[in-house]
């Protein structure tokens, strides 16, 4: 067994038993990062020197018995999280030289617990994309088949976990950006309830939808990571002040008491046969574990993608107004006058997908269209949320596909943004409703690509989807399979 093959909890155990040191583990992971990064392109920045120094400090804590489950664990985070003194690009040319003066709360919490940062992970530019192809630092590749996308926008996070370059990773999810890449790369990915994890220091895309969450090798690791980053933060006034449970304490409770909803609108005819097969097998597995299935309806599902692409782009056009070349980031040298400087800075600094979404959002907010598009979308959002509230009065969790197909080829959808947007159909409603969901590995396509399934929970009930995912893992081995890379 190689060190880089160990789960977070197994590595913690090895640290505790003094079988492996954090310096050894960090060295092994960094070697793996360097060996594979040309092929996978999962890292934008590697912080090797700082990582070794953190690992040495962690080993001193371990030697003195002062440790917690994250002490000395080598991991990496999406390049959307501000890291004090470490370049943070958000996958964009406009921030290619940006070194933040402070850190995101979620990274700060991991750092305080002794986690070792290996570097910053590739992503779609400003988290806008479903394939990681919009990154200004080149596409990230799927470790299971490097001609395919890893998913997006947290593509680097999922690919680095699947390629065993990192023990775990943090990503963000606005419309599926943790769950979809987790499904495509065969790892576990959890989008917590909106407000569960602080967004302070996370570069904003669509502020009413963005949420931070872990990507890991199994559900136990996911529970550890979520427990570490969850909680109220005075610096994020939308984070919610409810107690953080011990997510690992309830993992073994099984699913015998659970009613699992199958939303009929998600089980559409024309679903990819490989995804259908995975769903059927997952239903059978949960049934064998003792769960009861109930057919439910989320009647406004068909409107979710449209609603999302109005609300998210409107918020993005507002959030991204700050990139004007005045205080930080790229500034055009070709300009004459202030407005021209801002315009040229933005035109040179943003890539095509970011420009497209800013344009769509600006259009939706512009005079004459505001009520017809933006306010209308917010009203439909209410209808979608009500669908979930009604459904959760009948069931405890829901089981659905994550993505309509396994990972597609790099370049396949790049010229057809609408087709790209529609690939988020099963993940977007969860963000609009603000609730939590997890993608767990649940099978493989005939050509060997991972396929996940999604468990959706009630708001602030991450415990139940985690324990359902854990129960599933005990009787399946999909999460143990490793990409041959």
């Amino acid at each position: 067994m190689n060190i880089f093959d160990l789960t977070l909890h197994a590595l913690h155990h090895a640290f505790k038993e003094k079988q492996i040191s954090s310096v050894e583990a960090t060295g092994a992971m960094l070697a793996r990062v360097n060996a594979l990064n040309l092929q996978i392109n999962s890292f934008i920045t590697v912080t090797a020197d700082q990582a070794m120094a953190s690992a040495e400090a962690a080993d001193r804590h371990i030697a003195s018995g002062n440790m917690n489950p994250l002490t000395g664990i080598p991991l990496a985070i999406k390049d959307i999280f501000l890291t004090e003194g470490i370049r943070t690009t958000c996958g964009s040319r406009i921030l290619s030289n940006f070194v933040p003066p402070y850190s995101a709360t979620s990274w700060e919490k991991l750092r305080e617990r002794g986690a070792v940062l290996l570097g910053k992970l590739n992503q779609d530019e400003f988290a806008m994309g479903s394939s990681n192809e919009s990154s200004a630092f080149g596409p990230c590749r799927n470790p299971w088949d490097t001609t395919r996308i890893p998913g997006g926008s947290s593509g680097g996070s999922a690919a680095a976990v699947a390629a065993r370059q990192v023990t775990a990773a943090l990503g963000t999810d606005t419309g599926g950006s943790i769950r979809q890449p987790a499904s495509h790369c065969g790892c576990v990915g959890l989008k917590p309830t909106y407000g569960r994890v602080s967004r302070y220091g996370v570069i904003a895309y669509a502020s009413s939808l963005d949420q931070v969450g872990p990507l890991t090798r199994d559900v136990t690791d996911c529970a550890i990571m979520l427990g570490a980053v969850a909680g109220h933060d005075p610096k994020d006034s939308t984070s919610v002040d409810t107690p953080v449970p011990d997510y690992n304490a309830t993992l073994t409770r099984g699913v015998k008491d659970l009613k699992i909803g199958l939303p009929k609108e998600y089980l559409i005819s024309g679903l990819d046969p490989e995804v259908q097969k995975t769903m059927d097998a997952a239903i059978e597995t949960f049934r064998r574990l003792g769960a009861e299935f109930v057919e439910i309806s989320l009647p406004h599902t068909d409107y979710a993608v449209a609603t999302y692409y109005l609300i998210a782009t409107a918020e993005a056009s507002s959030n991204l107004a700050r990139y004007d070349g005045v205080r930080f980031g790229h500034r055009s040298e070709q300009a004459e006058g202030l407005i021209d400087m801002m315009t040229k800075t933005r035109s040179e600094g943003f890539g095509a997908e970011v420009k497209r979404r800013i344009m769509l959002g600006t259009y939706a907010l512009s005079s004459g269209y505001y009520d017809a598009y933006y306010v209308k979308a917010q009203k439909v959002r209410t209808l979608i949320m009500n669908d979930f509230i009604k459904a959760f009065s009948l069931v405890d969790i829901m089981l659905t596909p994550v993505a309509p197909t396994p990972a597609f080829k790099i370049g396949e959808k790049i010229n057809d943004p609408l087709q790209m947007y529609l690939s988020d159909i099963f993940t977007i409603p969860v963000n609009l409703a603000g609730t939590c969901a997890i993608s767990i590995p649940a099978g493989f396509s005939a050509s060997g690509l991972p396929v996940g399934v999604q468990l959706i929970g009630r708001p602030f009930d991450e415990e139940t989807i985690l324990r359902a995912g854990y129960a599933f893992e005990q009787v399946t081995d999909w999460h143990k399979r490793k990409a041959a890379i």
Binding site: H300, R331, F350, Q378
Partner: protein, 95 residues
């Protein structure tokens, strides 16, 4: 509904983006397809439905009004593309 080149130019101006002719043509076609798709929400009757801006309903988040330390001027200006003394420098605003 048809997104015209003039629409694209108008929106680009609002968004402070300068597009090439190629980008304008591309975006006109793509925005037309996307806006055409999202228009489906108009089918729904939303009379009397309250718009949702945030999934978690909350009131203002207040804190005590106390002085706390913040990052210093040097750190704040650390990423400035251009600066003079303790100021950001920008092109001349008033002619």
């Amino acid at each position: 509904m048809k997104i015209t080149l003039a629409d694209v130019e108008h929106v680009a101006r609002l968004a402070r983006l300068e597009l090439t002719d190629g980008e304008k043509n591309l975006f006109a076609g793509q925005m037309d397809a996307i806006i055409g798709y999202v228009e489906k929400i108009r089918e729904l009757d939303t009379e009397g439905v309250i718009p949702t801006s945030h999934a978690v309903p909350m009131e203002n988040a207040f804190r005590e009004d106390v002085v706390r330390s913040s990052i210093g001027v040097e750190q704040a200006l650390g990423n400035a593309p251009q600066r003079v003394d303790t100021f950001y420098k920008v092109p001349k605003v008033i002619e």
